[in-house]
């Protein structure tokens, strides 16, 4: 069986790490493709999290149009939490668009594709899909997946408890992913075939520091996992041959964590956010005493009157509140006196509504009160310097903490290996869907 277009995405692998692994022989199969074709760095999205990155990749549009700004969000009109996923998305993704053109498509484990929408092909959800039955379209595919003990996702809770158990679990999850990949690849002819590997992001989160420090046990284990991925890439390349257009890429880079920054706590300590009497979740705030609050990572919202329930900042005061927040955020220092923030972005500089493509030029009162998906964006996006991972921690005791997490996401250095497809000189993950569509439909 032949496939017309192949995508393999490997979550959270930075360009620099990939370059190192091409040179030291950890990933020889992918290195050969990279050498003969294209290998570049690629920009991610803001905020730099997988849900937003993959939603942007799949729809090819700005978050101001597709609505996914992070793993958690405000439930519209309340102070409840919402978990954005494919059901809350306000733009069609590439599997839907290609299906509409009669193409046969396959997607497996790509974040933000759960719950699956009907397509012409097979779509298998991943991270945050609760079980195989719910994760799969069409639903009868779940029988095969259960028969091989397919793993939707590795067990992140395990990673916090036992690193060796985590590694075994990552291997098993990867093996099952490729077992399913080869099954579907052999089964029929596909116009578009995209499989995602999430384990790389997990191993980076939990072992990045040990890798950098050449830990005698876990640094070799780290590279062994990547070598396992490359072995599968070798098998895949052999199956599809030399002529099929191919993209292998990540959605963001990684670097070592110096501090996790409990930004919600900082907002409370600095008088921006007043917590509710009982803190049950990250939005347990008292709106009557809250000028601004935040969600992970670094998404700062002004409590605008008429937009937020019980909002107290008038749209006329919106811009001055934002300026004051930017000033204070930029002045924030870690316990050693180092600056924490790299920059703070105003939402209209990177997000835009559907009717105003490109950065939106709007007066601030309009920005403050704009409805729709653009209106759901954070008013400011705080971008930290490398090493400062912005978290929540509204009920935490300290702003700067350290946990089992060793690595954090970075914006400028995802990677791309591509053959047989023309891409922009400057790569951004949001701009891939167009060239892929053109290629598949050509």
């Amino acid at each position: 069986m032949s496939t017309k277009f192949m995508v393999l995405s490997i979550d959270g692998v930075p360009y620099g790490l990939m370059e190192r692994m091409f040179n030291d022989g950890t990933m020889p199969n992918l290195a050969a493709i990279a050498k003969a074709n294209r290998f570049s760095a690629m920009k991610s999205v803001q905020p730099t999290v997988s849900s937003v990155a993959w939603a942007s990749y799949a729809t090819g549009v700005n978050p101001g149009i597709h609505s996914n700004y992070g793993f958690i969000d405000r439930e519209p009109g309340t102070w409840g939490l919402q978990f954005p996923n494919n059901a809350t998305m306000t733009a069609d993704h590439i599997w839907q668009k290609l299906s509409a053109k009669g193409k046969r498509v396959f997607g497996m484990n790509v974040p933000s594709t759960y719950p699956p929408k009907p397509i012409n092909g097979v779509l298998i959800g991943g991270f945050l899909a609760p079980n195989v039955d719910k994760a799969v379209f069409p639903s009868n595919e779940s029988e095969y997946l259960k028969s091989i003990d397919y793993q939707l996702d590795s067990d992140a809770a395990l990673a916090r408890q036992d690193k060796r158990a985590m590694l075994a679990n990552l291997d098993y999850t990867l093996d099952k992913r490729f077992e399913a990949l080869f099954h579907y690849l052999d089964r029929e002819e596909w116009d578009f075939f995209h499989t995602h590997v999430m384990g790389s992001d997990r191993i980076n989160h939990f072992l990045w520091g040990k890798m950098e420090d050449n830990d005698p046990e876990f640094a070799p284990a780290f590279f062994k996992f990547y070598n396992r991925i490359d072995n599968y890439i070798g098998q895949l390349l052999e199956k599809i041959g030399d002529d099929v257009p191919l993209m292998v890429f990540s959605d963001h880079g990684f670097c070592r964590i110096k501090y996790e920054v409990q930004l919600s706590r900082w907002m409370v300590e600095n008088g921006w956010t007043k917590t509710a009497a009982e803190v049950r979740h990250p939005l347990s705030i008292d709106p009557s005493g809250t000028k601004a609050y935040c969600l992970i990572p670094g998404r700062v919202f002004v409590n605008v009157q008429g937009r937020e329930p019980g909002g107290i900042v008038s749209p006329e005061d919106y811009q001055s509140v934002r300026y004051e927040l930017i000033k204070q955020l930029m002045e924030m220092k870690d316990p050693e006196g180092n600056q924490v923030m790299d920059k703070v972005i105003m939402k209209e500089d990177i997000y835009w509504p559907e009717d105003q493509p490109g950065a939106a030029v709007m007066n601030p009162v309009k920005v403050a009160t704009h409805p729709g998906p653009f209106g759901r964006a954070a008013d400011l996006i705080a971008v930290p310097k490398d090493g400062y991972d912005l978290k929540l921690g509204i009920a935490g005791n300290e702003v700067f903490v350290k946990t089992e997490l060793e690595g954090m996401h970075t914006y400028p250095d995802a990677f791309m290996v591509a053959r047989g497809i023309e891409l922009d000189e400057e790569l951004e993950i949001t701009n891939l869907a167009g060239p892929i569509m053109n290629k598949v439909l050509s």
Binding site: I72, F83, D153, A157, E278, G310, K391, A395
Partner: protein, 265 residues
């Protein structure tokens, strides 16, 4: 020992532990089925005479049936009843449009005032783990700090019945003897013990309340269950959640656990 006996024994043990460890305990009685069951168990724990105060936080918006029930049974059961009202907020008038503010002022502030006035160190509450996703993180003994904040990310582990009942100063402890009970357990126990319960739970003209609180924020469900047996039958044959309209609770809990493990929450 059947399930109800085991639940009863565990709850009574926790109630007695709380009384043993804290000088000033109060039973928080909201007049609903859970806290009334808790009141019943507390009476059993001390052979009919509760040795501490019962506390009702009165928002002034409760159903008339609840006030009647409170006064009747408080007297019958010999409770040393404290009714706490945030008079200032009630006088200022709270609006139903701002539910969070309203609950905050009338319930939480009312409770704070009562704690300040009476110096309660521990409160017995009738919450259950199956009520709502976040309550799965509760413990039998859950400390609240001075500002009343409950840090759900930092709860003491309770393993093998080693309850953590020591707390730092300036906190009060919330004790949850009913944590392991389900809604159905409560009704089966009410039936077994013949516990009196307000008539709001029983169907009138095809509707009944499944959980009760303040009038403006409660709506009845469609039901013909007009006695305890019929309610038990109904619960065994329905899938809707006690807090109907929140059908996403279970999946959200799964999502939250996943995100928490990765530090995204």
């Amino acid at each position: 020992m059947d399930r109800l006996d085991a639940l009863e024994a565990q709850s009574i043990y926790i109630i007695r532990e709380a009384y043993y460890h804290y000088k000033n305990v109060a039973l928080l009685w909201s007049i609903g089925k859970d806290s009334t069951t808790l009141a019943w168990l507390t009476r059993k724990a001390f052979f009919g005479k509760v040795p501490f105060k019962a506390l009702h936080i009165d928002t002034s918006y409760k159903f008339p049936e609840m006030y009647r029930f409170r006064d009747e049974y408080s007297k019958k059961w010999g409770f040393d009843l404290v009714v706490s009202r945030n008079e200032e907020a009630i006088a200022a008038g709270m609006s139903n449009e701002k539910k969070l503010d309203c609950c905050n002022a009338l319930k939480t502030e009312g409770l704070k005032q009562a704690i300040a006035k009476h110096g309660f160190e521990a409160l017995l509450l009738g919450i259950r783990r199956d009520e709502h996703g976040v309550r799965a993180k509760e413990r039998f003994f859950s400390p609240r700090n001075e500002e009343f904040k409950w840090n759900y990310q930092d709860q003491p582990p309770e393993l093998w019945d080693q309850y953590k009942n020591q707390a730092e100063e300036k906190t009060h402890i919330r004790v949850h003897p009913l944590l392991g009970w389900t809604e159905l357990d409560i009704w089966e126990y009410i039936k077994r013990e013949n516990i009196p319960i307000t008539e709001l739970y029983f169907s009138k003209e095809g509707k009944r309340f499944r959980s009760i609180g303040c009038v403006p924020c409660c709506s009845p469900i469609e039901s013909n269950a007009s006695n305890v047996d019929e309610i038990i039958y109904e619960l065994k044959h329905t899938n809707t959640s006690e807090r109907a309209g929140r059908a996403q609770d279970k999946e959200d809990t799964f999502t939250m656990q996943k995100l928490r493990a990765l530090g995204y929450m």
